[in-house]
Symmetry: C2
Subunit: 374 residues, 2 copies
């Protein structure tokens, strides 16, 4: 075989994720490996937990990172909290709501779907009606920030509704955490998962999660075993909990956790409010520039995510050719449309370390040049 | 919060994993991130597949790395190949055989257990009798190299038996791959999983797997959906397959895959036979030295793993204090006993990059010193 070491170019990542990673985080990840039960490592895990509690704005003891990507974080919430026969109201307004539905079905849950158009927020009114109609529903599940459409839904209002109807909530915050406000305790979120590789700007492969006391109670009073051994939180708690001797569950992704520690520390040092403001400011600059170029942002301003911008592809433009030119000539990655928006939209991300002025300027300049040529 | 960047010391890892990582692999991991659908990245994934086919000694098209640790690789094999009601013969001679049983149960399979003493190999005779008694068994599952005991079982003979009885095989090669012969095609293994962080000396967090054509057929002819969305190989294939356009499934752990590429390349350049021989040679030196120190290797030479050595704790020795001294005074990690061997044995690993002469010498010298003091 004629294979040599892989030496990637320096790209600028402005797609839907993975996002750019700061040199500090990449450097942290390359530090020497130590054991996953080493006292120094266990101490670092406690720091990660504290930093995640800050990022999620929660006091939840059950707050840590699943050793796998965001999709596994999603599955962690569903397999632990949905028992066969449980009725779950699932809101779908994009790809990741659909994936939630898949999860409910594969757990043996009974899904009740609330559907909204792609590109629109979850309708509070429809959810309210549905919860009225299904007083036996046990869980409300929705996506806070739909990565497939660039839409934010009103997590606070949805959680308040769920509480009124005695439902637990499962919230997808993969794209929202760090980029827009996420307030787990204040909003009363019961189970939330995110990804390391969006607005946290860590390496991909980890999924921060947090469970409220009510979620932990539901888990510990289950009648049936969690169908996934790997994701069973009643077992994983023994490794991540500070209250007892750490018991071996699986070998933690040590170096990825170094990176998570460093990226969460950067977020803490910047401050959550400052990070939200930076994402909002960069979005404004990008939106203004795109408008000047005659490009349309497809999501209404009332529910638009600053960190992920859905841009309509102009008539007659070969969208894949434009993306290839940006990648090959400018080392700039923007995202293709997903699901219903495949071929109809680009997704331009401004996530974490990538939400910087020089990136906005480059993206606008490069788009102007390649669209001018096409 | 008073938290600063994490700067681990340089440890020498001679426990049951994670193992030491070469500077080249750590450096590869810290290269700039590119997108998980970038053509350059997709090409690198094809190289990883070819390198894994070499490591597993297989032509299986369905060969790649699960984006999570070895425990998730185990679960990948069980959730995809075991349907509710399927009878599965599970061999237990340590912690990881027990974990296989957990997996069978959580998949709704009907387990038939073949039990052997911890510290002994799986009995070919017992498995043969069990397969005779259960002609409706569909799968035989066993651990090739038990990480909890340091025992190798005869995978070739077990797979031959399974074939005679029309059973598929699921084989745990987490600790064996790269350290002792693993020959997927020659032995007729149907589903195999390993870990990145043992004899491959890559970062922890990935699980190489390979499925034979018969395993893929079983998967594609299932009556029920795979209970895990994240691990459903019928979906994951769309991302890792070279034959079709790569479809998004989840965000791959990009930088960890850089590291896997580099570590597999190192194994390919050294050569599998040379790697097996190196592990055997280092084991010989370690075993001789331990014997000179008056320490007993607990596993019979006929089934002893060179890469993981179970050492009896001498009477009256505080085993945890010894490990703490090795760690604190020599930066040397050896492993505690697990399960039945907790408090009774140490586990000294010689895995991948850690299987080097200087490590053997240090380990013996340090053990002599701390045992002399105790």
């Amino acid at each position: 075989m004629d294979i040599s070491s892989f030496n990637p170019p320096r790209r600028i990542l402005m797609g839907p994720g993975p996002s750019d990673i700061s040199p500090q985080v990449l450097q942290a990840q390359s530090r020497p490996i130590i054991g996953h039960l080493d006292p120094l490592f266990v101490n670092m895990m406690d720091e990660i937990k504290a930093l995640l509690q800050y990022a999620f704005q929660t006091q939840n003891a059950h707050t840590f990172a699943v050793s796998a990507p965001g999709s596994a974080g999603m599955e962690t919430c569903f397999v632990n909290l949905v028992e066969p026969g449980d009725k779950v109201v699932v809101c779908i307004n994009g790809v990741f709501g659909q994936r939630m539905l898949e999860n409910v079905e594969r757990c043996g849950g009974v899904p009740v779907v609330v559907e909204d158009s792609w590109g629109e927020a979850v309708s509070i009114e429809k959810v309210s009606q549905t919860l009225e109609q299904h007083p036996d529903a046990k869980i409300l599940a929705f996506v806070h920030a739909e990565t497939s459409t660039g839409v934010a839904s009103d997590a606070q209002a949805l959680c308040a509704l769920a509480k009124q109807h005695n439902c637990l909530t499962i919230v997808d915050a993969v794209t929202s955490l760090g980029g827009i406000p996420v307030k787990v305790d204040e909003w009363g979120i019961d189970a939330i998962y995110s990804g390391s590789q969006k607005c946290l700007s860590c390496v991909p492969g980890l999924s921060p999660v947090s469970f409220s006391q009510a979620a932990v109670s539901k888990l510990t009073s289950r009648n049936s075993k969690v169908q996934s051994w790997f994701l069973d939180q009643s077992l994983v708690m023994g490794y991540w909990s500070g209250e007892q001797k750490r018991s071996y569950h699986h070998t933690a992704p040590v170096t990825a956790l170094y990176a998570l520690h460093e990226s969460l520390l950067a977020l803490y040092k910047e401050g959550l409010e400052q990070s939200w403001q930076r994402h909002a400011d960069m979005h404004s600059q990008l939106a203004d520039g795109l408008t000047e170029l005659g490009l349309d942002l497809m999501v209404d301003q009332s529910c638009r995510l600053p960190q992920l911008n859905l841009v309509a592809i102009p008539n007659g433009v070969d969208e894949a050719a434009i993306r290839a030119k940006l990648l090959n000539n400018y080392n700039l990655e923007i995202g293709a449309g997903l699901g219903q928006f495949a071929g109809k939209a680009w997704r331009i991300g401004l996530m974490g370390y990538a939400a910087r002025k020089e990136n906005v300027s480059l993206c606008l300049a490069a788009l102007a040049e390649v669209l001018g040529e096409s």
